[in-house]
Structures are given as C-alpha cells and as structure tokens.
Amino acid sequence: MLLDAAAAPLTARPYYQNGDPGPLVAALATVPELLEVSLPFLTTVLGASSLDARTKEIVIVRTSALLHCVYCVNSHSVVALDSGLTAAEVVALRDEPRAALGGEREDALLGWVDAVAGGNGPVADAVAARFGRSFADHEVVELTLLVGATMMLNRFCTALELPTSPAVIDRLTAAGLR
C-alpha cells in the first residue's frame, strides 16, 4: 500500500525528491489525484499559519491522543517538542485524564479540543464561552478545523496502520516519551 520512489506516480514524484516523504504521502500516492489536493490542504491546516506552532501542536497531540492514533501521537510529539513544549507537557496532553498545562488560554483551548474531538453533539455553552474569551473568531474557526483535520488523519493513519518512522522513535526514546 505504501509506494516507494520507484513506484511513485508522475504527479506524486515531487514529494519524493528530497528522500522518503513518509508513510502518509506514500499511502496517498496510490491515488495521486487525492494526494494532489489533500497534501496541500493538510499542510495548510496543520502547518505554519497565523497561529503559533505551540498552540497548534497542543491541539494536534491532544486530538490524536483522544482518538488513539499511535502514528499521529508519536509523530506530533516530536513536532511538539520542536515547537517548544516540554516532555512533561507532551505527557500531560497524552494522558487520560489529561493534566492542565497551567495557563488560562491553553486550558480553555484544551477544553474546546476535548469537547470537539472527544464529545458528541454541540459543545457545552460554558466550554464555548471560555474558549471564545481567549481566542478571536478567526482563531476559533482555524483551531476547530485543525481538530477536524487531525481527526480525519487520526482515523486514516490508524485504520491503515501507518508505521512510525525509526527517526521518530529515536527522538521519542531520547526524550523519555516511549
């Protein structure tokens, strides 16, 4: 199911130019017209934007932990470390029940993430109101889409059992996160 560089379809080849593009690309490359639209989408939603990287990785790691996506939790724990979270903070996001990170803004964010990714139906008014006090409308929209896109990735990567790369495992081991 995972295509290597030699088997990469024509429109997927640019993703292989700098070496192994990782299992997500290698899987999506089997349907190149989906790769062409989904990778730019995911890169836009999960990548650098007007929101700081720490905030985004809090959302991604926490959502992935709630959905039990081993691949995403592993991969984004490393990205979270690179984005300024401590190993203890990463553990707090991965644990159930999670521990608070300590600041009102981030705890309001995590309340929203837990409600959107872990709940059913509407978000409770109190959770939404607390979240809305800390984030502007456009940030609410972006962060909510980030939760949703991460959930989609979580289910995709889990169902297809995408493997965590050895480099990620080495980083996690070095950080005491294995």
Partner: protein
C-alpha cells in the same frame, strides 16, 4: 492550462486515447508488458464503459481510439464494441491475430467498412523466430488470419515488436506483409520495452516517461500516461506512470495529463520510436 481539445489540435497532446479492454490472453509472449496469459486477472472494462469513455474522449477533442489488452478478442462481443467505438472515433484494435477462425472470424465481419483497423502482431518472417517469443504455431495462425480479414473488408495493420540486428530480416518481413496484402504504410516496428515480463526475461530497452508519447490510457485500475504505463510485473501493477485512479469523467485524467505535458520539452519522446 489549455484544454485537451486545444492541445490535441496544436499537436501538444497526442490525439489517441487507449483503452485496456482486458488483461487476459491466450498467449504468454516473452516480452509482454502486462504479464498477460490465460490465468491472469481479467480486469475488464465493460463495453458500456469503453463506449462512454469514447464519447467523452470525442467531446474533449481527442481524435482517435486504441483498444489493447490482453487479447481483446477474448472478450465476448468485442467486434460489436469495436464497431461502436469506430462509429465515435477512428479506432485501432490490437490483437494477436490467433483467434480469427470459425465463429470469431464470422463475428468480426461487422468491422468491414467501419473506421476500425486491426493491428496484428508479427515479429519475424521466420516462423521459428516469431514463435520463440509469441508461442507455438503463432506464425501460421497469423499469416492465415491476415488475408482472411482483408478478404472480408477489414483494414489490417501489422506491428513488429523487437528489432533484428540483421536488416535482411526486416526486408523479408516487409516482403511477407506486402504479400499478405498489408502495405508498408500499415506496418509499424517498435522496440521491446523493458517493462512487465520483458524485465523478468531481461529483454528490451529502458523507457522513461520522457521516451513515451503522452497517450491517455484508460484501464480498470486507473488512467496512465501511455499504453506502456499500466504494466504488470510479478503480478503487481506498476504505478510509476499512473495519472489518476479516476477515469470517469475523462476530463480528470485528461487535465492531469495535459498539465504534465505542458511542462515537458517538445519532441523528446521520439528517440526510441515507441509508438
């Protein structure tokens, strides 16, 4: 990006769309691109699917069709399907030419006077040389079929795969096909391409995307850059020349192909004469 119609009209995009009707075959040629044979997965395009693809190809501005496999004439009703395709766009149907006896020969008469040509494989004027690659009695069956088809008003072309080092071999082959009623203008010679079973047999020349004309090719597995794209090795479909899994609507792979072609230098595909 321009439209497929404009690109075909400008000669930027080849006008022919290929359809892989099926992958199974009564032969197991040594250089077969698709590892075809009697026991392989059929992976057929239905007649309805082929005709709908042809209609969309015409609407998009493509100017010709090709049908290949596998051996297309193992598919029931292929003569009628080809006649239907020929009514939409000029069509060439590739065949090994070994099945045209009895009922199949009678059935193929529906192609008489249509815009459908049958392209039959014949690799050498020497029966033993031809049959070494294509199987026992292949030569005898083919040289019997060609005049029988021509007598019935069907246009026949001959395709020779593999190039001999001896120019006399080609001269003898041309003498043979002229004698069978096929003019030089309907004889094509192309190299063995090192894909599919040819890789296993260590035959042929390497061909990259830059060597292959960008002829949109539709299969049950998706759309490819060229009819040399949907090859099979060790039972696995090659994906290196895959364009899209989506084939309906045809504009999806057509636009993907066009996007790739427009970034490609002109004329680079002619060196190996892969047609």
């Amino acid at each position: 990006m321009s439209t497929p119609a404009a690109a075909v009209a400008a000669g930027v995009l080849p006008g022919r769309v290929w359809l892989y009707s099926n992958y199974h075959c009564n032969l197991t040629c040594t250089y077969c691109l698709t590892e075809s044979g009697p026991g392989v997965q059929r992976r057929e395009l239905t007649a309805e699917r082929m005709l709908e693809t042809a209609r969309q190809a015409a609407e998009l501005g493509f100017t010709a069709l090709g049908v290949t496999g596998g051996e297309p004439f193992l598919v029931p009703d292929m003569p009628k399907t080809l006649a239907g395709l020929g009514a939409i766009l000029p069509t060439v149907g590739l065949t090994n030419g070994t099945l045209f006896t009895g009922r199949r020969l009678a059935a193929v008469e529906v192609l008489a006077g249509t815009d459908v040509a049958l392209q039959i494989s014949l690799d050498s004027a020497v029966p033993a040389v031809n049959d070494e690659a294509r199987g026992p009695d292949n030569f005898a069956k083919v040289v019997a079929a060609i005049p029988a088809l021509i007598e019935r008003g069907i246009t026949v072309r001959i395709a020779t795969t593999g190039e001999s080092d001896n120019p006399d071999d080609l001269a003898r082959l041309c003498e043979l096909h002229r004698g069978l009623g096929v003019p030089d203008s309907d004889h094509v010679v192309r190299p063995v391409i090192s894909r599919g079973r040819a890789v296993t047999a260590d035959l042929g020349v390497d061909a990259t995307v830059d060597d292959l004309p960008a002829e949109l090719t539709i299969t049950a597995d998706g759309a490819f850059w060229s009819p040399f794209g949907p090859t099979v090795i060790n039972g696995r479909l090659d994906t290196d020349l895959l364009l899209t899994r989506t084939t309906d609507p045809l504009r999806v792979p057509a636009q993907t192909l066009l996007g790739l072609v427009e970034g490609r230098p002109a004329g680079g595909d002619t060196t190996l004469n892969i047609r």
